[in-house]
C-alpha cells in the first residue's frame, strides 16, 4: 500500500468535500431564507441571488486545490508520490483550504442571511448587504492562496 499517495488523495478529497459541504449548506440556507422574501415581492430575486451565490464560491476554491493537487501527485500529471512524508506534505497543504473554506462558507452564509433580512426591509440597501457578505470571502481567498502556494511548492522540497 502506497500510504503517501493515499494521504495526498485524502487531502485533495478533503479540500473538495468540506468546502462543498460548507457551500451547499450556506447556499441552501440563504436560498431557504430568501423564499419568503421572494414570495412577498418577486422583484427582489435578482438582489437576493447574489447573496445566495456568495457562499458557493468556497466549493469552487476547494475544487481548484483538489485539481492542482492531482496534477502534482501523478494522477493528472506531475511526479507520482511514493513516500509517506511527501504524501503527508500534500495532505497538510490541502488543510488551509479544507478548514478555512468550510468555516468561511458557513459564516458567510450567516452574514448573507442578515442581508436577506435587510433586503426584505430596505431593498435599496442591497449593496451594503452584498458588501458585508463579501468581506468574509477574503478569508476563503487567503485559505485558497495558502493552499495553492503550498501544493505548488511541495515538490521543490525534494522529499
Amino acid at each position: 500500500m502506497n500510504w503517501g499517495m493515499l494521504l495526498a488523495l485524502l487531502g485533495a478529497g478533503l479540500a473538495v468535500t468540506t468546502n462543498c459541504f460548507g457551500s451547499s449548506k450556506g447556499v441552501g440556507m440563504v436560498a431557504e431564507a430568501s423564499s419568503p422574501v421572494i414570495a412577498e415581492d418577486s422583484s427582489k430575486f435578482s438582489k437576493l441571488l447574489i447573496l445566495m451565490l456568495l457562499p458557493g464560491s468556497q466549493g469552487l476554491y476547494g475544487l481548484v486545490i483538489a485539481i492542482l493537487t492531482l496534477t502534482q501527485i501523478g494522477i493528472l500529471g506531475g511526479t507520482p508520490v511514493t513516500t509517506f512524508s511527501n504524501g503527508l506534505l500534500y495532505f497538510i497543504s490541502c488543510l488551509p483550504m479544507a478548514i478555512g473554506g468550510l468555516v468561511s462558507a458557513l459564516f458567510q452564509a450567516r452574514v448573507a442571511l442578515t442581508g436577506v433580512n435587510l433586503i426584505s426591509k430596505r431593498p435599496q440597501d442591497s449593496g451594503k448587504a452584498v458588501t458585508s457578505a463579501s468581506l468574509v470571502e477574503l478569508y476563503a481567498l487567503l485559505s485558497l492562496v495558502t493552499s495553492l502556494l503550498m501544493v505548488m511548492n511541495v515538490s521543490s522540497l525534494g522529499l
Binding site: 458557513l106 442578515t114 436577506v116
Partner: protein
C-alpha cells in the same frame, strides 16, 4: 452557528417579512388617535387582519389575528411543538372558564380564548359531558379534580388557585424542557411575576400563609416561594414582602404593585418584550420566532386596549399610559 439552528433559516426570514406588517409606535399613535372604533377596525383591516362578519365584536377580531399568527408559527417552525408553551396558559384559561361556565349556565364559547393547544370544541365537549378523560394529561385529572371540588364546595377561588398554580408549574416545566434559554427566561419572568402578584394580593386581603402555600407555583427560581410564604406568616406582612422584593431582580416593579395592578401588568409585559429585543434580528434559531409571537401578542393587547377605549369613549391620555412596549 449552533447545532440545529440552520433549520430555522426559512422560518426566521418569514417572520421578518411578516413583522413588516406589525404596528410601529407611530402606527399605534395613529390607531390611538383614530376618530372612531370603525376607523380603528378599518386600519387593522388595512394591515391584513382578518375581519369577522360582525366587526363590532372586537374580541373576535383580536382572536382571529392571534390565531393567524399562531397558525403561521405552526406552519413555518421546523419544530412547532417547542413553541406550544407560548399558548399553554390559554388551555388552562379555557379549562377554568369551561368548568365555571357550565356550573353557572354561561355561554362557554364567549369565554374561551384562542389559539390553544387543545381544540376548544374538544374542551367544551369534555367539560359538558364530564368526560375529562377525553383531554390529555394533566388536563384530564386536573379538570376532574376541580370540577368535583366546585360541585362539592362551590369555592370558586379554591378552584382558581388550583388551576392557576398548575398552569404556572406546567409552563415552567414545559419551558425548561425546550432547552431554549430565551423561552426559559421569558416563562420565568411570567411565573415569577404572577407569583409576586398573587402574594401581594393575598397579603393585602389578609390571606394566611397556608393559602399562599397552595396558590404559589414552585416553578420559578428567581423568586423564592418560601420567602413569599414566610412574608404572609410574619408580623409586618406587607413590609416584609416589599422588602424581600427589593432584593430580587423584580425590584423596579414593586412600586407599581402598590399603585395600580394595571401598571404592574404593563411593567411585566414591557419587561418580557425588552428581553426579546437583543435577538430580534438574529438570522437563525428559534428566538426570532418566540419574539414574533410574543411581539404580536403585545400588539394585539394594545389593539384590545385601544378598541375598548374607542367603544367606551375613554380619554386618550389615560389609554396612552396603558399601551405596551412594542416589539420594534
Amino acid at each position: 452557528m449552533g447545532p440545529g439552528v440552520s433549520k430555522y433559516a426559512y422560518a426566521v426570514s418569514g417572520a421578518h417579512v411578516y413583522e413588516k406588517s406589525f404596528f410601529t409606535k407611530s402606527d399605534m399613535d395613529k390607531l390611538l388617535t383614530a376618530p372612531s372604533y370603525d376607523a380603528v377596525v378599518s386600519m387593522l383591516a388595512d394591515r391584513g387582519w382578518p375581519m369577522p362578519d360582525d366587526t363590532r365584536d372586537s374580541g373576535k377580531i383580536l382572536d382571529n389575528e392571534m390565531q393567524r399568527a399562531w397558525a403561521w408559527v405552526k406552519e413555518s417552525a421546523p419544530d412547532p411543538d417547542l413553541f406550544s408553551v407560548l399558548i399553554l396558559k390559554n388551555d388552562y384559561h379555557n379549562l377554568k372558564a369551561g368548568i365555571k361556565c357550565l356550573l353557572s349556565d354561561f355561554d362557554v364559547d364567549l369565554h374561551f380564548v384562542t389559539p390553544s393547544n387543545i381544540d376548544p370544541q374538544l374542551m367544551k365537549e369534555a367539560i359538558e359531558t364530564h368526560d375529562f378523560e377525553k383531554l390529555p394529561e394533566p388536563f384530564a385529572s386536573l379538570g376532574k379534580e376541580v370540577y368535583d371540588l366546585l360541585v362539592r364546595t362551590g369555592d370558586g377561588q379554591l378552584a382558581d388557585i388550583q388551576i392557576d398554580r398548575k398552569c404556572l408549574d406546567e409552563i415552567s416545566k414545559a419551558a425548561n424542557a425546550t432547552g431554549i434559554d430565551l423561552l426559559k427566561e421569558e416563562m420565568e419572568i411570567y411565573t415569577a411575576t404572577t407569583n409576586i402578584k398573587t402574594a401581594f394580593r393575598a397579603i393585602k386581603t389578609g390571606k394566611d400563609s397556608d393559602f399562599l402555600e397552595r396558590a404559589l407555583s414552585d416553578g420559578c427560581t428567581t423568586v423564592s416561594k418560601e420567602k413569599l410564604v414566610s412574608c404572609a406568616a410574619s408580623e409586618k406582612k406587607m413590609e416584609d414582602l416589599l422588602s424581600y422584593l427589593d432584593s430580587t431582580s423584580y425590584r423596579s416593579g414593586t412600586k407599581y404593585l402598590s399603585s395600580s395592578p394595571a401598571e404592574y401588568e404593563k411593567w411585566v409585559d414591557d419587561k418580557m418584550i425588552s428581553l426579546l429585543l437583543p435577538t430580534r434580528h438574529s438570522p437563525l434559531g428559534p428566538e426570532p420566532l418566540i419574539g414574533f409571537y410574543l411581539g404580536k401578542e403585545a400588539e394585539v393587547r394594545n389593539a384590545r386596549i385601544i378598541m375598548a377605549a374607542k367603544q367606551n369613549d375613554l380619554p386618550l391620555d389615560v389609554v396612552a399610559k396603558r399601551l405596551r412596549r412594542l416589539y420594534e
